[in-house]
């Protein structure tokens, strides 16, 4: 992952390129020869990130996918260890060089957050790292935000390039592609048909993103995350979580949720240790063998999810673990809306402490 960190942001106006949509499709097709290309393609839920060979099927105009592309680095299921006759061996992934094309800036930013989560405290998760090291992210700036978007309230923007190697903006007939890292620069340099962008085109891209930002609703986000703990014992959690059914849809859809389970499987001397996504929304997550559960109610579990993002994230990785993609709002079967929760918390704290 060293290459990633050393990558600097080149002076964008110098290096920005214009690629026609036709050339883009050709370029993705060429990339797919020796790369895995993960891109948004049509799905009954709108669009979904999937490995694709067919560059023509890639959607530029999609809204947020039902699931984030986090699986590119942190798949729902992966084998960590293989067992044979009582001996464990590591099964580190050796993925091909992979291009994640078309991630929205919020999703790209989430990948940067996951980097920090999985490299915390000097303990590097080698499985996530192996995928991340071989991943090039081409983010696609937003011009039409979705109905649940609130990235601008949590430090993001429709043209944020955090976590991306290249930031692309759809200009209609063509895309403006700006390198963000050396890896991105190298990818662009090899792009057939690209020409240097003109100042007017860069301006046009900025205008589009600015217009998109205008459309995104603002949500009050805690400026002093530590103060959220003042509301820890508040009764508002019971009210907020009253309709919560206790499923894990929000956490699995979330681009920054990263909790996991480790489970063994075996049959006649061979077996494996599997890592799978897990969710703080289910009671089993924290249930002790003794029967004691430190988070015995949906109130406590929903509180954990919200505070993990907005109070604990700033302590552990120095930023809120939310990119404002709005997926949790979109997928929640009982209509729980994180934006309303934040507004509620804001009122609670502003109103002189726990309500």
């Amino acid at each position: 992952m060293t290459e990633k960190k050393e990558g600097t942001k080149p002076e964008t106006p110098m290096d920005a390129r214009i690629v026609s949509k036709e050339d883009l499709i050709a370029a993705l097709t060429a990339l797919a020869q020796d790369h895995t290309v993960i891109a948004p393609v049509d799905d009954r839920t709108g669009a979904v990130f999937a490995p694709t060979q067919d560059a023509a099927a890639v959607r530029l105009e999609y809204r947020n996918t039902s699931l984030s592309p986090k699986a590119a680095v942190f798949p729902q299921i992966e084998t960590l260890l293989a067992f044979q006759d009582g001996v464990a061996t590591e099964t580190l992934p050796e993925p091909p060089e992979t291009v994640l094309f078309g991630a929205r800036p919020c999703d790209a930013r989430a990948l940067a957050m996951l980097d920090r989560v999985f490299q915390r405290d000097g303990i590097d998760d080698p499985y996530v790292a192996a995928r991340r090291d071989r991943l090039t992210v081409i983010a696609l700036a937003c011009d039409e935000p979705g109905p649940a978007c609130f990235c601008t309230s949590v430090g993001g923007a429709p043209d944020d390039h955090t976590g991306a190697d290249v930031l692309a903006t759809d200009l209609g007939e063509a895309l403006l592609m700006r390198p963000v890292t050396e890896r991105g620069e190298a990818l662009l340099a090899a792009l057939d048909g690209a020409r240097p962008a003109e100042a007017g085109e860069i301006e046009a891209a900025q205008e589009r993103s600015a217009a998109a930002a205008e459309k995104i609703g603002r949500v009050p986000v805690p400026s002093e995350p530590a103060r959220l703990l003042e509301a820890f014992d508040s009764e508002i959690w019971a009210e907020i979580a009253a309709g919560c059914l206790g499923c894990g849809a929000c956490t699995y859809a979330c681009p920054t949720c990263h909790c996991f389970d480790l489970t063994d499987e075996h049959k006649r001397g061979t077996g494996r240790r599997v890592r799978s996504w897990d969710t703080c929304a289910l009671p089993l997550f924290t249930l002790h063998a003794s029967g004691h559960n430190p988070r015995p109610s949906t109130d406590a579990r929903l509180r954990q999810r919200v505070l993990h993002k907005f109070a604990y994230g700033p302590e552990t990785i120095d930023e809120m673990l939310c990119v404002g993609c709005g997926r949790c709002v979109s997928v929640c079967p009982s209509g729980i809306d994180l934006r309303r929760i934040l507004a509620r918390l804001d009122g609670c704290i502003a109103g002189g402490g726990p309500g």
């Binding site: 798949p75 299921i77 992966e78 084998t79 992934p93 499987e265 049959k267 061979t270 494996r272």
Partner: protein, 154 residues
């Protein structure tokens, strides 16, 4: 614990079906026993799981057996009216009818999943039933559907 099973073969290396048979203690298991002590020949392809009553059989046992790589499943209990617990098999009959239909609906070959009634006195019927079941599974070949494919996982 439930990878695709290695395929059972006979001495010639030909595939032989493996059947999980859930038999109630009072009738069908006794029927199988009778077949044994009467020296009635039946093929060795079956793994018998004795249960107290066909009513004890959670229909998911069948699905689980298929997932674990069994090529076919047989459930057998007392004839209707003869249940040791009066009505266990009658409740079970409703459940089995639904599960059988559901499995076929989703595409599990009907010849893999069998339900029948065998009494303690029906050693011959048990042996014949097994022949029927094994032949119907043999015709279908090794199970593929529903079998867990760990090797297919990343």
């Amino acid at each position: 614990m439930t990878e695709a099973s290695e395929r059972r073969t006979d001495a010639q290396g030909d595939w032989e079906p493996r059947i999980a048979a859930f038999l109630c203690n009072w009738c069908s298991y006794a029927g199988a026993d009778l077949a044994g002590v009467s020296r009635i020949q039946y093929p060795p392809n079956v793994r018998v799981i004795r249960v107290p009553c066909s009513g004890r059989i959670n229909p998911l046992f069948l699905v689980k057996a298929l997932q674990s790589g069994m090529d076919g499943v047989l459930v057998s209990g007392c004839h209707p009216g003869d249940c040791h617990y009066i009505s266990g098999n009658l409740y079970a009959r409703r459940k089995f009818a639904l599960m059988k239909s559901l499995l076929e609906y989703v595409g599990i070959e009907p010849g893999r999943v069998h339900f029948s009634w065998v009494s303690a006195a029906e050693g011959v019927r048990f042996a014949e039933l097994l022949h029927t079941v094994i032949e119907s599974v043999r015709e279908l070949g090794p199970a593929e559907r529903m079998v867990r494919r760990v090797e297919a996982m990343p």
